[in-house]
């Protein structure tokens, strides 16, 4: 990724040429990858030992999961468009794309809430079985990160509209892509394993 003039952070020293904020967000992602990685690898190892979990996985709502996948992928697109707009100095357009990204994140959360409600009503609670414990732990942790991302997008969007710290749109974008990629792992592992 190159640093385009309009998105460069103000007066930041960098011995490597990489902007300090970007370096920071990548290291933050490294720590997040190990957290989710730990959970996901644990789930995979357990699933290998428990092939009967495919029966449980049948009761996830694959349609909702597929829809949410499309929602998140689209939100990553709008996020990239927001960053591109910032790079061209088109802050109003960037603001619109950021709002779109945030809304798509919100749709993801609403669909998730619907899924959880439906599954719990049918008796598939976190204590129903170990598969479900993992399902709720993994998707729950992910949903918390989506929520955090929505908050960050809105805070940075507000700053950007005031003309401040526009370089941070790129950083929240990097984070958002990470949240998207985690879902790309969770969807097949939890929904499609039947």
């Amino acid at each position: 990724m190159t640093t385009v003039g309009a998105t460069a952070a103000p007066e930041s020293r960098t011995a490597t040429g990489v902007p300090t904020g970007r370096l920071g967000i990548w290291w933050f992602l490294a720590s997040e990858i190990v957290i989710f990685g730990g959970l996901i690898v644990t789930y995979v190892l357990f699933h290998l030992r428990h092939p009967e979990w495919t029966q449980d996985a049948r009761h996830t709502i694959s349609g909702a999961g597929a829809f949410n996948t499309v929602v998140l992928l689209t939100s990553s697109l709008t996020m990239v468009l927001a960053h591109a707009a910032v790079a061209r100095g088109m802050l109003v357009r960037a603001g619109r794309y950021l709002s779109l990204t945030s809304s798509l994140g919100g749709i993801f959360m609403i669909v998730k809430a619907f899924e959880y409600g439906h599954e719990i009503a049918e008796g598939f609670t976190p204590v129903k079985g170990l598969f479900w414990s993992f399902y709720y732990a993994m998707t729950g942790l992910h949903a918390l990160h989506v929520l955090g991302g929505i908050v960050a997008i809105n805070v940075i969007g507000a700053m950007m509209r005031a003309g401040k710290n526009v370089h941070r749109v790129e950083y929240v974008g990097i984070y958002w892509h990470f949240v998207d990629i985690v879902w790309i792992f969770l969807f097949p592992l939890l929904y499609l394993t039947s």
Binding site: S31, F46, P126, L130, S133
Partner: protein, 562 residues
């Protein structure tokens, strides 16, 4: 007149409480860590008195039931590792030294730095509060293995364990924030001319330790979430009846737990690496060897973890590979230690307190290291695992990098931090008391372990038949009491010197690194401009120079091309 980032006068709160200045934050971490060290040490006092005289109440505390004893051991270990070693070595020395040694005005993310301290402070409050809830503090060991920790029927239905988990989780978040700051600052904010291989060893150690922590803590965060869910929500991650596996927690815990001891060791070694050259007036021996060894140690630390689990019932085929990696990791650590010893060889040694503690660190750590080889070999470990042999090993391995190094570092950098020197006589008293009594406390424990005395036993009279256990415990307790009393000269010295210590100029030790080029204490903003670095940090006693030292930022009259 040094430059100042803030032109307006700052309030008391923003100068001393919610400061974003790395130097103030480092002192906050340092003070909190030292306070918790006192607390952890007093817990050890109660334990040691109980162990020496199991059927008498402990003076100043009362009688110690097995349940209370379990809480004491749990919290002593937890506090020493997470609330003493990490805040002092990383939060304290790391925060203070990194910007100063690399020649910049503050960390890359000063507000994140401030948040990291206050998150840590919150974690401290949560941890201490767990002593006061019904049921008391967590009794399940700092290792918190399920089923004991996951099942309230076994470990009590009170809030002790959940609060412990929450406190540790918050501490992890605090040090993740701090770690990212350290890594990015060290990589990106180095001043002009400060190439990676001109960095002081301390900085390499701090960055490597932060990277190790960052990559190892994730799976345990996942594991801790699962433990909390098992305990409070009735999930079955660790319950065999539900399809779970208690061994899973052990793997998740030790995957972090072993790299963690290197997170603690490396900054401790870094402190020694800075002090030995100054008080030998010699360059550090094998700078590049130390750097590469440190990186290799960091990498290898991720593949040794199951040596903590040889007797856990895990697949026995794992015993050999993990024994091999464990013995292998002693090689890069040994390279570092031998390099330190070679640094001393034919040096002009000055036995000031920082040097005494550095030398003591090496001597005591040696015993910890070689007993690690014994524990790390599965066939031997089967006999000594979870006995006092192990307890002695890890105290010999941890006390040097945590306590000897922190004392060395405090005596050394106190002048820079506070503008005054600590008293030398009290320093020597402190050193000899600490050095002698550490050995009196822990040497007997090797023998106890070899006799078969298991650890975490509240009433040793149940195992007196193994041998001279009673006498060994009493001897060890005499050592522990002596060790605690030996800290009194330090406390008097540390706080007294703030007011009565001899004032110093910028560089009382004639050291080459950049922190000694600014005022003591350094002003807000550290350096008047952008320092320029011309050489590495260890140019001492060059034959072609009149002075026996050559600061990093001194422009050369003549320079040989690199």
């Amino acid at each position: 007149m040094a430059s100042s980032v803030h032109s307006e006068k700052q309030s008391f709160l923003s100068t001393y409480v919610f400061s974003t200045d790395h130097k103030m934050i480092s002192k906050q971490y340092l003070l909190t860590g030292l306070f918790m060290a006192l607390f952890g040490g007093l817990l050890a006092y109660v334990m040691r008195m109980q162990l020496a005289y199991p059927h008498s109440p402990v003076p100043g505390f009362g009688s110690v039931s097995p349940g209370v004893y379990n809480s004491l051991t749990t919290m002593h270990g937890t506090i020493m590792i997470f609330w003493v070693a990490m805040p002092v070595l990383l939060g304290g020395f790391g925060n203070f030294l990194i910007p100063l040694m690399i020649g910049t005005r503050d960390m890359a993310f000063p507000r994140l730095n401030m948040m990291s301290y206050w998150t840590f402070f919150l974690s401290t409050v949560v941890l201490i509060s767990s002593f006061f809830v019904p049921g008391g503090a967590s009794p399940v060991g700092w290792t918190a293995y399920p089923p004991l920790s996951a099942n309230p029927t076994y470990s009590g239905a009170g809030l002790g364990v959940p609060l412990w988990i929450l406190a540790v989780a918050l501490e992890f978040v605090a040090f993740l924030m701090g770690g990212i700051n350290f890594i990015v600052t060290g990589i990106n904010l180095r001043t002009t001319g400060m190439k990676l291989f001109d960095l002081p060893i301390m900085i390499w150690m701090q960055i490597t330790a932060s990277i190790i922590f960052l990559f190892s803590v994730g799976p345990l965060i996942a594991g801790a979430v699962m433990l909390l869910l098992d305990r409070t929500a009735g999930t079955g991650f660790y319950r065999p009846e539900a399809g779970g596996d208690p061994l899973l927690f052990q793997h998740l815990f030790w995957f972090f737990g072993h790299p963690e001891v290197y997170v603690i060791l490396l900054p401790g070694l870094g402190i020694v690496a800075e002090i030995l050259p100054v008080f030998s007036r010699k360059p550090i021996f094998g700078y590049r060897a130390i750097v590469w060894s440190t990186i290799v140690t960091g990498i290898l630390s991720f593949v040794v973890w199951a040596h903590h689990q040889f007797v856990s019932g895990m697949d026995p085929r794992l015993a050999m590979p993990f024994s091999i990696t464990t013995i292998l990791i002693s090689v890069p650590v040994a390279i570092t230690i031998f390099s330190f010893i070679a640094t001393l060889w034919r040096g002009s040694i000055e036995f000031a307190p920082p040097m005494m503690f550095s030398l003591g660190m090496l001597a005591v750590f040696l015993i910890g290291g070689v007993t690690g080889i014994i524990n790390g070999s599965a066939p031997a470990d089967i006999y000594v695992h979870d006995t006092y042999f192990l307890v002695a090993h890890f105290h010999y391995a941890l006390i040097p990098p945590v306590f000897f190094s922190l004392f060395a570092g405090l005596y050394f950098w106190y002048p820079k931090m506070f503008g005054r020197k600590m008293n030398d006589l009290l320093g020597h008293l402190h050193f000899w008391g600490t050095f002698i009594f550490v050995n009196v406390t822990f040497l007997p424990q090797f023998r106890m372990g070899l006799l078969g005395h298991q650890r975490r036993i509240a009433d040793p009279s149940t195992v007196y038949s193994l041998g001279d256990i009673k006498d060994l415990h009493i001897l060890s307790t005499i050592g522990a009491v002596g060790l605690l009393l030996s800290q009194i000269p330090f406390l008097v010295n540390f706080f007294g010197s703030l007011f009565f210590g001899k004032k110093v100029d910028r560089n009382p030790w004639k050291s080459n690194t950049l922190e000694w080029t600014v005022d003591s204490p350094p002003p807000h903003g550290n350096f008047p401009g952008t320092p320029i670095v011309y050489r590495g940090a260890y140019e001492y006693s060059r034959p072609d120079r009149a002075d026996d030292w050559w600061p990093q930022d001194l422009a050369p009259d003549e320079t040989r091309a690199r």
